[in-house]
Amino acid sequence: MRARKIRPGIAAAAALAVAGMVLAGCAEDEGDEGTNTAEGTSPGEGKAGCEQLVQFGDLTGEEVSLYTSIVAPEDQPHIDSYDLFEECTGATVNYEGSKEFEAQLVVRAKSGNPPDLAYIPQPGLLNTLVTDTDAVVAAPGPVEENVDEFFGEDWKAYGTVDGTFYAAPLGANVKSLVWYSPSMFADNGWEIPQTWDDMIALSDQIADEGKVKPWCAGIESGEATGWPATDWLEDVLLRTGGPDVYDQWMNHEIPFNDDAVVEGLDTVGDILKNEDYVNGGFGDVKSIATTAFQDGGLPIVDGKCAMHRQANFYAANWPEGTNVAEDGDVFAFYLPPIGEDFGNPVLGGGEFVAAFNDNTVTQAFQTYLSSDVWANEKAKATPAGGWVSANNGLDTANLVSPIDQLSAEILADPDATFRFDASDLMPGEVGAGSFWREMTAWITGQSTEESLEKIESSWP
């Protein structure tokens, strides 16, 4: 997208266009279920993929502004995926990405200068925007229909505040993955574990064989040191305690150091604090705290470690030239459930699309982004991979990289119970403070009870 340049001659034309837009605004009708429509025939009439958008009428010349936290080079696939919308409606999308997004969006919403739409990476931020600024507009009918059709209940709930549905899910990431080396597994005759017990048995077997350590991990991440360990606990608690306990724990309806959580963290400790299991390629248990999370899984490629639990976005951290595929150098398997009571729990994250006004063009774009059409357009526009959505209308064949396909399959699994990363939803003092800190202390020797107790006492 090139920068807009305003020349004097065009300024007059622009003034006329503004006047025209005001007149068009008067002609807008209230459609069904709170949607607006513009007059005229949509330029997308009869074109493939435009079916949902023709109802909004002719939006030629209108502009819709979008504010996100995604910057170059990841922004280009997003911008490319709007081409179909622009063809269908005639409107233009103005994309703005900023790394200061989370602070700036609140400032702009509070001072009455919000964008038309924003990609919100955390349900907690959506909650803040809705309750503190009152600037977010509820999702129109077609968006809600799309979400009901293409996303699970769990996902819709994260876009809902106080019973009102505001924001449709967009992209997603999957954290319940264990990275491994397919060739190492094949050479040693190891099989991908289907249950937690299988996984522990495999770990014991690898440890006994003594060629490599079964697990490697790294939780160092600057001021956020400790977060990969919080993901471990969340992932395991989701399996030992189940989604209900997980939700209660996240909302502090049960204490942070509840027995269920103690059990969960001890289960994590059976792996992460087991000298026989860790820390492949780095050293003893304590080396987990000093190893950067970006490096945590790299011993797998060097043949010094068998398994590493980390999210799908870890794919970007493998050295250049590493083949990430089921028959390649590294790949991942789904972290198996513990017992059969809770289905297949999936820990992850994602973005949500919030709108700040109910203009026709805003609603049209919101509808487009919540549709299966967009999810497939986005997949096609991301040739390098590294993007996935929980939209079950997404055809996995359109995803380029095998790890994206695996993530999409895990998300689309009807038995899957999706839960958002809890530390992102807890109060900042805990979720971005004591939780990280105490998990680091836990790795370096602090007891489970003491660690959880300290986090509990820090809850505001």
Binding site: A3, S65, A72, P73, E96, Q104, K110, N113, F313
Partner: protein, 314 residues
């Protein structure tokens, strides 16, 4: 005795003075002191030199080893190419032009207003002058962070149904709000600084001009402005560097349009969404450094002179 003693005392005093001066001279030309100065200078320059070397190293080298291991190469211009042509939203040149378009009015507006205001505060008598000056002085302690949301709200929905300055429909595409905000934040310090400088100009000069029949306008333009040039230039450099390096004001008041974003916005995004491209930052730092460096070096002599403006008379 009494007649001979004082000269002797003076002589000894003179000798003592001379020896004090020579000790001072000795101390300052002490080879150890020089060595210390050189060591400090080197220590301060080493990180910058490391940054410069890093900016020319290939990505894998930067991420794999320290800059001191790269003294012998290999070198590449790839980082600079990426900084200058990468990014998908706009070309780098657009950001540079935006920075200039933002900076020039943001320096000229506060200087113009502050010089006039400083003159009024220093040499015109009007009721409430001191109270008003204390008010302006006190405004310096208001942190700009707490003014942002109220100020932006005022731009978006101005009182008395005035035309909105921020948002998509604003005239000038949003530059006005950035210029105005920088001016607002700069004025208290500018007025204070220039006022104190103006007070130091001898009153006789003004009086004699007045006797010759000069009014305020003539006194201001014929006497004050030429005498004030060093102070104005010094403040100009201060303000230029502040505005050029500013990210916060541009982000908040820019109304969220990349079309009017300065270079700093591009630099802030250089490392990518998850910070994976941090090897570009050193090259970005040097690219953004060029313009302030030219301005600083060419106006440097005013800078030191102007730093003393507003200080106690010596």
């Amino acid at each position: 005795m009494t007649t001979t003693n004082p000269p002797a005392g003076v002589v000894t005093g003179a000798i003592a003075k001379e020896s004090a001066a020579s000790t001072a001279k000795k101390a300052l030309t002490n080879p150890w002191a020089s060595l210390a100065a050189v060591v400090i200078a080197v220590l301060w320059t080493v990180p910058t030199a490391g940054l410069l070397i890093s900016s020319f190293r290939p990505e894998n080298e930067v991420k794999g080893s320290g800059w001191w291991t790269g003294l012998g190469g290999p070198y590449t211009l790839e980082n600079y190419r990426e900084v200058l042509t990468g990014g998908s939203s706009a070309e780098f040149g657009t950001y540079v032009i935006n920075s200039i378009v933002i900076t020039l009015p943001s320096v000229l507006i506060p200087i113009t207003l502050a010089t006039l205001a400083a003159y009024a505060f220093a040499w015109m008598r009007f009721p409430g002058r001191n109270l008003l000056f204390i008010g302006v002085f006190a405004l310096q302690i208001v942190p700009i962070q707490i003014t942002m949301i109220p100020l932006l709200s005022a731009y978006v929905k101005p009182p008395f149904n005035l035309i909105s300055l921020a948002g998509g429909e604003a005239p000038g595409g949003g530059f006005y709000t950035i210029w105005l905000s920088h001016s607002i934040f700069a004025l208290p310090l500018a007025i204070y600084l220039l006022h104190n400088f103006m007070r130091e100009i001898p009153g006789e000069l003004i009086e004699s001009a007045r006797v010759d029949g000069a009014g305020h306008v003539q006194i201001f333009s014929r006497i004050m402005l030429p005498l004030m040039m060093p102070a104005i230039a010094a403040f100009g450099i201060f303000q230029f560097l502040w505005v050029w390096n500013d990210l916060l004001v541009a982000l908040v008041f820019g109304g969220g349009s990349l079309d009017i974003s300065p270079v700093t916005v591009r630099l802030a995004e250089l490392s990518g969404t998850r910070g994976a491209d941090w090897h570009l930052l050193s090259a970005g730092a040097f690219v953004s450094l060029v313009v302030p460096l030219i301005v600083f070096l060419s106006l440097q002599r005013y800078f030191v002179r102007g730093l003393l403006a507003g200080s106690v008379k010596g």
